[in-house]
């Protein structure tokens, strides 16, 4: 026993030390330190690769997106403030018509409207799952919501084309394409995301809060409204923002029902366009390096910047929520 363990002293030899006769290694194994180094290295490399891809993505999109302003000499004001999108022609002064405002309005329009549509349903369903009928909620409603997440966006677009657009056309006249059709399709699409995140937020409220409120004689609704929802508010806000992120970035489903007319929308039921729909339609038609192509990349950069901004908002809410709930 005297020579029990000889913790491998500085000795650099890779062979494991046989600590004692009875424990002589029967099989040659890779030394533990090397296993650990290898494990950390491999897994770190995977994480590094993923990070590298993201950094490359941001760098490359920014590089192409900024070319509009650097090489093509288009001013920020005419891009963000211009109301006419027709990159193939120029205005009277000879400057290209690359106003992105119609698409920016379109993107924000469908995002905000779909969020307004989805908000009551998502919160209602989340309260129902957590507070009213947990068994039915977890056994039926949650699987249903998970299934909705899985339905591909083109299928939603197709449904929009074959149901919602004709429906709007029947009521409001016109073509039926437009912001309204786009927001309804998006609302159905982001409903599962917002609902399941809201469920998490509401379920995370400690049980003692509810017991405290019910113990004071409050009704179930009072408890939900004044205690649970208040405490879950940061989480619910996060859910909404993440839903907006998804709505803002959705391309194909919106493109199929919005009508694709890059003009400032005058009503909810006339054709419009979003950043994503113009990108989807245009990118295939233009050669790299042309001015039109560069402007499309600028639209992509705006999309990228917005999704970064949404993340930032989520983080700010998280920090504030941590403060509120101690």
């Amino acid at each position: 026993m005297a020579e029990a363990v000889q913790p491998a002293a500085p000795a650099p030899q890779p062979a494991p030390q046989a600590p004692q006769a009875a424990r002589a290694r029967a099989k040659r194994m890779m030394p533990k330190k090397r296993v650990e180094l290898l494990g950390g290295g491999i897994s770190g490399a995977c994480a590094g690769l993923a990070t590298l891809l993201v950094v490359t993505l941001i760098f490359m999109v920014a590089q192409h997106g900024l070319a509009t302003f650097t090489t093509d000499g288009i001013s920020l004001a005419s891009f963000f403030g211009g109301t006419t999108w027709n990159p193939h022609s120029t205005d009277d002064a000879g400057a290209p018509l690359v106003g992105a405002l119609p698409m920016i309005i379109g993107s924000f329009g469908v995002t905000i409207m779909s969020t307004l549509f989805v908000f009551p349903f998502a919160i209602g369903a989340a309260i129902f799952v957590v507070e009213i009928q947990p068994t039915f909620g977890r056994k039926v409603l949650q699987p249903v919501i998970e299934l909705l997440v899985g339905i591909p966006s083109v299928v939603f677009g197709l449904l929009g084309l074959s149901i919602i657009v004709p429906f709007i056309r029947g009521i409001a006249g016109g073509t039926g394409y437009g912001l309204l059709a786009g927001s309804i399709v998006l609302a159905v699409m982001v409903l599962p995301t917002v609902t399941s995140l809201s469920i998490d937020a509401i379920a995370a409220v400690p049980k003692s809060y509810r017991e405290g409120s019910l113990g004071l004689g409050c009704s179930r609704w009072q408890t939900i409204w004044k205690v649970v929802l208040r405490s879950a508010l940061p989480g619910i806000m996060t859910a909404l923002i993440l839903g907006m992120t998804r709505a803002f970035g959705e391309a194909l489903a919106v493109q199929m029902v919005i009508g694709n007319a890059a003009v400032i929308p005058t009503s909810l039921v006339t054709p419009a366009a979003t950043l994503t729909s113009v990108l989807t339609m245009g990118m295939g038609n233009e050669a790299m390096g042309t001015m039109y192509n560069d402007v499309l990349w600028s639209l992509a950069l705006v999309l990228l910047a917005m999704s970064l901004a949404f993340i930032l908002i989520v983080h700010l809410i998280g920090r504030k929520g941590a403060k509120i709930n101690g």
Binding site: M1, A2, E3, A4, V5, Q6, P7, A8, A9, P10, P16, Q17, P19, Q20, A22, R23, R25, A26, K27, R28, M29, K32, K33
Partner: protein, 283 residues
């Protein structure tokens, strides 16, 4: 000490491993197993959880560490096999001498140290695998089994050493999570013993168990010590310390207050904090 083995009641299981070593350990009773020198623990660089503990543990002995909750006894125990290093921003100071090597400051093979200084946790934590795999996993990973028969033998030997073999020998392929709490804890002891440690750390091993299971663990601890292993057991249960240990050390507010033979600690405590603790003035 040497006599305990002789009058141990007829053990149903075979005598534990490596007879020659056991004999050798007995011959040189009081051989030092592990010794701490001014060991302390810092969290987040400035919060000191443990101050300057110097203790010596011998082979073939059961040493108890007692004290109220939060006194640092578990923290100290987790220093001995360097499990504290797994906690972020935790730093061990001082030195711990283990077979002539300072495991705190010298460059050591952490994995070999943990193989020969086993640990049993507060909550029984068998792996979510079969009983057999629970014991066999570490043996296989450390390349300690030459072939599958040899592995079977080692698993059986370990289960016998933890006095569990007779209860589980027919269900080795069943899930370890189906065992009772006491059996799970003995399985955890078995998988540690399978690696032939010479120090076994037990962190309140009975706090989640009923009295009968507790008794079984205590007997097992005693029996393991009798094979020449140094057993260090953390407990907040003074009766347990009195029943099972040879030496007892009392911890209070992150310091080691008093240490000595168990009988002396409980009958003639010197420090007044220990007196107060033993008389039940705080817990």
């Amino acid at each position: 000490m040497e006599q305990t083995k002789v009058n141990a009641p007829d053990a149903p299981s075979a005598p534990v491993s490596s007879h020659t070593q056991v004999a050798a350990a007995r011959a040189v009773s009081k051989e030092v197993a592990i010794r701490s020198n001014g060991t302390g623990v810092f969290y987040n660089t400035d919060q000191q959880a443990l101050h300057d503990v110097s203790l010596t543990f011998h082979k073939g002995e059961v040493a108890a560490l007692i004290g109220p909750s939060g006194c640092g006894k578990s923290t100290f125990l987790r220093c001995l096999n360097l499990m504290n290093l797994e906690i972020p921003h935790c730093r061990i100071v001082g030195s711990i001498d283990y077979h002539g090597v300072d495991i705190v400051n010298e460059k050591i093979n952490l994995f070999d140290v943990r193989t020969s200084i086993g640990m049993v946790f507060q909550q029984p934590n068998p792996f979510r695998k079969s009983i057999y795999d629970n014991v066999a996993l570490a043996l296989t990973r450390h390349g300690m089994a030459a072939n599958s028969t040899n592995l079977d033998d080692q698993v059986e030997e370990a289960l016998r050493a933890a006095v569990l073999w007779d209860e589980v020998k027919d269900d080795l392929k069943k899930s370890a999570w189906a065992l009772s709490g006491g059996q799970q804890q003995r399985l955890c002891i078995a998988r540690t013993l399978a690696l032939h440690p010479d120090v076994l750390l037990m962190d309140e091993p009975c706090s989640a168990l009923d009295p009968i299971a507790t008794r079984a663990i205590e007997d097992t601890a005693r029996r393991i010590a009798d094979t020449g292993i140094c057993v260090i057991i953390v407990t907040h249960n003074m009766q347990q310390a009195a029943r099972v240990s040879d030496t007892t050390s009392f911890f209070y507010l992150g310091e080691m207050v008093e240490t000595g033979p168990t009988e002396r600690i409980f009958t003639a405590p010197e420090d007044e904090r220990l007196q107060a603790y033993i008389s039940g003035q705080f817990g």
